[in-house]
């Protein structure tokens, strides 16, 4: 008996697998992280672009002042992880939608995964190994609280 395939599907639909449903958790992640990111990003934009002198106020001393405060360390860590994984998962969706061959899909997915892993490690290391008063730095470039050290 010849089986009748569903029209226009290149591969037969994947049968339900056991274990963790990654796509479901990805879907949930986008919504859960999105909700938190609305608060984190608008807060970040307000402090860095709107309040005071806006973008003109940002320099090493400004960032060092923020990262000397545990509140902003937690804020920026959450921002880094939630935003980058949210973005990468979104790009994964676009790659799945728009690539025409399995090879290009594979190459692009590996590129996104690599960039994500590298930037998560880099960003986390920067936040947690950061010294607001680096040795030998000019006094006018570092936060004022470095003077007493």
């Amino acid at each position: 008996m010849t089986t009748i395939e569903a029209p226009r599907s290149p591969k037969p639909a994947r049968t339900r697998r056991r274990g963790i449903n990654g796509e479901k958790w990805g879907w949930i992640y986008m919504r859960a992280s999105g909700l938190v990111l609305v608060i984190l990003i608008f807060g970040h934009l307000f402090v860095n672009l709107v309040s005071g002198k806006g973008v003109n106020a940002i320099d090493f001393a400004f960032v060092a002042g923020k990262l000397a405060d545990p509140f902003w360390v937690v804020w920026d860590t959450l921002l880094l992880w939630l935003a980058l994984i949210h973005g990468s998962n979104g790009i994964r969706t676009l790659i799945n939608d728009y690539t025409r061959t399995p090879l290009t899909r594979r190459i692009l997915l590996i590129a996104v995964a690599t960039a994500t892993a590298v930037l998560l490690i880099l960003g986390t290391l920067v936040i947690y190994t950061f010294d607001p008063c680096p040795a030998g730095a000019a006094a006018n470039l570092v936060p004022s609280f470095c003077q007493g050290r």
């Binding site: 609305v38 973008v55 940002i58």
Partner: protein, 146 residues
């Protein structure tokens, strides 16, 4: 004989169905209303924000290198051209955030799908309110005296 019948069915199912053009287009073809345009804008703004994020993590990482290196790069963010870029970034983030909340409401609110079209226009209205608050302030920072 039954085998042959089934085989013919499988072959014909592969052929694209013939669709006659309708006399009037209204209500017959997908013409992309609020649902489609919100989806298009969500994708475009998402990609734009993503590529900024990649660069932004790298430029912020310069604080670990030296105050001079970080200041040299962050000072380019204060030029008028980059100031317009930051405006565009907030335009993109504003839409993506508000429409993202709309998507959450469509998925989790019992009547979310019913009101998705109305919620799209609420998103647009809130987006404009947000930008009316932000853009003049940003222009003051980047074009005004400081």
């Amino acid at each position: 004989m039954p085998d042959k019948t089934a085989g013919t069915l499988a072959t014909t199912s592969r052929r694209a169905p013939v669709i006659k053009p309708p006399k009037r287009l209204v209500g017959t073809v997908y013409r992309g209303r609020e649902g489609m345009w919100s989806w298009v804008l969500h994708r475009i703004t998402g990609v734009a924000i993503y590529f900024f994020l990649l660069v932004h993590i790298l430029d912020t990482s310069l604080v670990r290198l030296s105050p001079e290196a970080y200041n040299a790069v962050i000072n380019t963010y204060k030029t008028p051209i980059m100031g317009l870029g930051e405006t565009a970034l907030v335009v993109a983030i504003g839409f993506h955030a508000l429409n993202g909340l709309r998507i959450i409401l469509i998925d989790f609110w019992s009547v979310g799908a019913k009101y998705q079209r109305l919620m799209f226009w609420i998103v647009i209205a809130l987006w404009i309110v947000l930008l009316v608050g932000f853009v003049p302030r940003q222009f003051m920072h980047i074009f005004g005296a400081h």
